[in-house]
Structures are given as structure tokens and as C-alpha cells.
């Protein structure tokens, strides 16, 4: 079986996103770390909704859990939900431009972060404060750049493009 080249790009981009999210930042900047992995997952769901899905959610989720050091399965849960929503409403993602996509992306990010927040309250009773949400505007700011770079990558192959 031949592996299509975009699959390799997809794997590489997810690993790059994970690396970025594991980047050690000074304490005062740490809350502003964008949600790289979530945005990468959303991007691939918007470009290849018929070919990617829960496999990507599981591998990205398991790796995030291991790298971040949370209980295994926590990120998987969230990514599965995001992938499901993207697949269910893929037209919204597909028919909107990069900038318009900010709204669904923002919504999914709020969902993801809210879910993690809930988990932190239930499992460990940590008060994260308002600064926890700093990652949301930071993510939305880098989204156009990320989208541009990733579409450069995904355009390169003849497998038919939806963008």
C-alpha cells in the first residue's frame, strides 16, 4: 500500500505542533501558549474531512497526554469530540475563508479549554484563574499564520484539494 504524501505532512505537522506546545516558556508567558495541536487537528479536518478522523484524534491525543504529562486519555476525549464536530459540520469549515474560520475555530477552542478546565476542577481542584483563558486570544491570533503555512504544505500533492 502506498502512503499518500499528505499523510506524511499531516503526521509531521502534528508532531511539530506538539513540539511547539511543549516549548518551555517563562512563567509569565506560559498561559499565552497557543493551542497548536487543537488548531492543527481542526485544519486537517477542514481540508481532508473524508480521509482523516478518529485515528488522528487518538494519535494526537495520546501523544499530547504523554508529552504534557496528564492522565492518559484526557486529550483523546477532547480531540475525539472536536473531530466529530468538524466531521458533522464540515461544510461550515469548508465553505468559509481563513478569517471566517476564526469563529468555528474559536468555538472549538473554547470547548476544548472549557473541558480541560472542568477536568482540572473535578480531578484536582486547581484554581487556574482568568489567565487560563489567555491562550484563546493567542491561538486566534496565530490561526491565520498557521492556516497559511499548513495550506502551503497540503497544496503540494496531486491528491485533489479542497480548500
Amino acid at each position: 500500500m502506498r502512503i499518500e504524501s499528505w499523510r506524511i505532512y499531516q503526521a509531521l505537522s502534528l508532531i511539530a505542533a506538539l513540539t511547539l506546545s511543549a516549548l518551555p516558556l517563562p512563567d509569565s508567558y506560559a498561559p499565552w501558549q497557543p493551542q497548536w495541536v487543537v488548531m492543527t487537528v481542526i485544519f486537517w479536518m477542514s481540508v481532508r474531512p473524508e480521509k482523516t478522523g478518529f485515528g488522528m484524534a487518538w494519535s494526537a491525543g495520546l501523544l499530547s497526554d504523554l508529552v504534557v504529562g496528564s492522565w492518559i486519555g484526557i486529550h483523546v476525549l477532547s480531540y475525539c469530540l472536536i473531530v466529530f464536530l468538524c466531521a458533522r459540520f464540515y461544510r461550515v469549515l469548508q465553505l468559509s475563508s481563513t478569517l471566517q474560520k476564526i469563529f468555528p475555530v474559536g468555538l472549538l477552542l473554547v470547548l476544548h479549554m472549557g473541558y480541560l478546565h472542568l477536568f482540572s476542577i473535578f480531578l484536582s481542584n486547581v484554581d487556574l484563574g482568568l489567565l487560563y483563558w489567555a491562550s484563546l486570544p493567542a491561538s486566534l491570533l496565530v490561526w491565520p499564520v498557521l492556516h497559511y503555512l499548513l495550506s502551503k504544505i497540503s497544496v503540494g500533492d496531486p491528491g485533489g484539494l479542497t480548500a
Partner: protein
Amino acid sequence: MLWRKLISSLILAVVLVSIDYRYAVVDRAAPLVNLVTQPIVAASSLPQQFFEWVYTHYRGVEELVEENQMLRQQLLENIFWTQSVEALEAENRRLRTLTQLDVPTHSQRVLVAEVTKINTDTFRQTITINRGTHDGTYVGQPVLDEHGVVGQISGTSLFQSTVLLVTDVSHALLVRNVRTDDRYLAHGNGQGLTLRFVPRHNDLDPGDILLTSGLDDTYPEQHLVGRVAQITAQPGRDFLEADVQAEAQLHRNREVLLVWHRNPAEETGDAD
């Protein structure tokens, strides 16, 4: 089809989380997990290493000489203080023999460990260090840095160990107020530490320094834990609550100290 996939995925994920939450599977399989995560973690520390390299290679000679001078001064100062500590210890031992109290036998050994990974998770505060059972580490071993108490080892493999920080919510230790000698239980709260259940008329002020009490079998006595930052009294509650700022550089330190302070016979016992 989509629904079925979602639901089976969610169920499987929830099962995974609960198994890991209950049995700490990932912590136990740390060597295997590190095999997977090490490349990613190493790649993410590259920028920092690069800047450090640039910094160390392009510093002027004068700056280095200055730093060297400063370090030498500090060393002299430290030698002075250690000498006085030794004298004090001898005096203390003599006084204790006079009053027929137990003479504490100090057999502390320390080893410097490098921090290889700082887990960025907000709800579990751990770091990974490059020392394992190969170097004689054990679960429950205290870890300090030059400023204060960092935490204790929560999982150890041959060449690596996980350190649970004092600020983690599942961590608590017995501390002593230097000024008043009162003892408190300091719980981690995710950002710092909290003293719960402080009696209302207790003599506790912001700025008070808290040391380890040495009564919890885990931490050696007399090491800096933190300073009281804020004391809050909630109407209707019988107790005060105090926030404590941890003194150790929990998220910034590159090197930590492992301490062996118990007899080997005791080390086999449980740590908590």
C-alpha cells in the same frame, strides 16, 4: 457511523483516564513513555539551548571575570556560614548530651540531578530528573534546590525519576513557622501552598518564613519551604486560610539536589 465511532472512542478514553487516574499506569511505565516523548521534548528545548549557547559564547571577558569574582566572594561567604553551622551543630550536640536528649545522627548525602523535563500540565505538577534507582533513588525521597524544598520523588525507574512538586494538589507536608515555632500542614494548591485550618487567633503574619519540621518522615529538618503571602479570613468559618509562596524555583530550576537523610533500613518503609 460517525456517532458510533464517537461514542466508542469516548467510552474507551474515559476507561483509559480512570485506569490511569487510579493505577498511575503512565508513571509506572515511565521508561517506555520517555522513549516516545523524549524526541519531542528534546526538540522543544532546542531554541532554549541555542540561546544559551549564543549567550555563553558571546560574553565578554570582563563580564566573566566579574562573575568569577562575585562567585569567589560568595564562596568565601558560604564557607564562613558553613563553619558557623558546624560550630553550632557541635554546640547543639553538646547541649543535648548535657540535657540527656537524643543526639540526632546526621548522615546526609546529596547528589545533584539535572531536570530533563518540566511537565506543563496544569493539574499535575511534576518534573522529571536524570537520576534513577541506578543512583539509589527511592520513592518518597526529598528533592531540594538552592532556595528551598522542591518536592519528593513519586516514581522512579533505572535512570530517571518523576518528582512531585510541593505545589501539587496531592501533596502536603508539615511545616514550622520560624518566628513562633507553630506547626502547620501545607497543602499544594496548584500555584503555591495553602495552610488550611489555622486557628483564628494564631500568631501568623504575612512574610513569616516556613521551614520543614522534620516530623513527616519524608523531608529533612530545617529546610526553607516558603513564605506566608496572604492570610484570608472568611466570615462564618472557624479557621483562617493562608497562602504560601513556595521558595524553590519550581518551574525554572535546571538542577536539583537529591537528599538521602534517613538510615538505609528506614528507606524501605513507605514514604507517605
